[in-house]
């Protein structure tokens, strides 16, 4: 088994691929800084843009630097599971913290 499956397990990225990803990350960083500092985006969308760019960057790192794109899908699933459970934690906690109505004393 080791002969054939060797190729599947050990993907070797070309230097060009890696440099391309690195450059893309650099450009995205510049874009996000420029958007934040020099362009005024109305309230909720500034965070949304910044986070979306961060997600794209994270996706690039995970897929190509961390090799998930060529790796077994189970490892990618593990990453997604971690993110999903983090979201669950945040969303459910927000169900409390966003909807508290304090009783204001009348005297």
């Amino acid at each position: 088994m080791s002969g054939n499956s060797h190729e599947n397990h050990h993907h070797v990225s070309t230097a060009g691929q890696l440099w391309a990803v690195g450059t893309a990350l650099l450009i995205l960083t510049i874009i996000t800084v420029v958007l934040a500092k020099f362009v005024t985006i109305p309230a909720p969308f500034d965070i949304i843009t910044a986070i979306s760019i961060a997600v794209v960057k994270a996706g690039l790192v995970a897929a190509f630097f961390m090799n998930l794109y060529w790796d077994t899908k189970f490892n990618a699933m593990l990453l997604l599971m971690a993110v999903a459970f983090f979201m669950l934690m945040v969303l459910i906690t927000l169900l409390d913290t966003l909807y508290r109505v304090d009783v204001v004393p009348s005297f």
């Binding site: 960083t29 500092k37 993110v83 927000l94």
Partner: protein
């Protein structure tokens, strides 16, 4: 079980069938560990999100005290180090041990640059009296909850910096083993999983940067 090691390369532990099984197991184990790391930071991010949703104006004001330029430089530095780690793995996969060593050294150097910049940022804040929690003495911010913002800032960046330090140690260890000639295209599991760890450190920073430095 006397003959259990026949036909086993020396780097394969006795309870594995072959090198592939060992490599896959190690990598999967590392991914499971990264799941841990994500949720570990997840707790801090959760605190961040809750407090930001409570006091959005605090975050806008307080983020002005953080230096976007140096934050951006650090982002670039970490991305660069991620790239060199990826290059290091590529080198060892192609049996280019010299390339492996050089890439590891550049990674360590970039990580140190990151820490130095971080150190300047911290010392500048300490100078202003921006200490975490109850030691906070800075008077430039009106908001009553300002110390909490900086507590979250210090916890997030502090725990991240701790991970960078551990990463420097790990990569140095990999470098020493590379010098000793432990690695080849047949066996480079430690390089691969240390690389995964380092990329995660980078991943976390990719989110920390816009969340802390880029609030307008």
């Amino acid at each position: 079980m006397a003959n259990h090691s026949t036909s086993h390369p020396t780097h394969v532990q006795h309870h594995f069938v072959d090198a592939d099984q060992q490599f896959d197991s190690a990598k999967m184990g590392m991914w499971v560990f990264l799941v841990n790391e994500i949720l570990f930071f997840g707790g801090l991010f959760c605190a961040y999100i809750v407090y930001r949703s409570w006091y959005p104006e605090l975050f806008t004001e307080a983020a002005l005290e953080l230096n976007t330029f140096w934050g951006a430089v650090n982002t670039v530095v970490l991305i660069g180090s991620s790239l060199t780690v990826a290059m290091a793995i590529r080198s060892v996969q192609k049996d280019q041990i010299k390339g492996l060593k050089i890439n590891l050294l550049i990674t360590i150097a970039l990580a140190i640059v990151f820490m130095v910049i971080k150190g300047f940022e911290y010392s500048h804040k300490f100078h202003l009296g921006i200490f975490p929690g109850e030691f906070y003495t800075f008077e430039g911010l009106e908001h009553a909850k300002a110390p909490i913002f900086f507590s979250i800032y210090y916890m997030l960046t502090g725990v991240h910096a701790l991970h960078v330090l551990i990463g420097i140690g790990l990569i140095y260890w990999i470098y020493r083993r590379a010098v000793r000639g432990d690695f080849s295209s047949e066996y480079y599991t430690p390089v691969e999983i240390t690389g995964l760890y380092w990329h995660l450190v980078d991943l976390i920073w990719i989110f920390l940067f816009p969340l802390l430095y880029l609030i307008e």
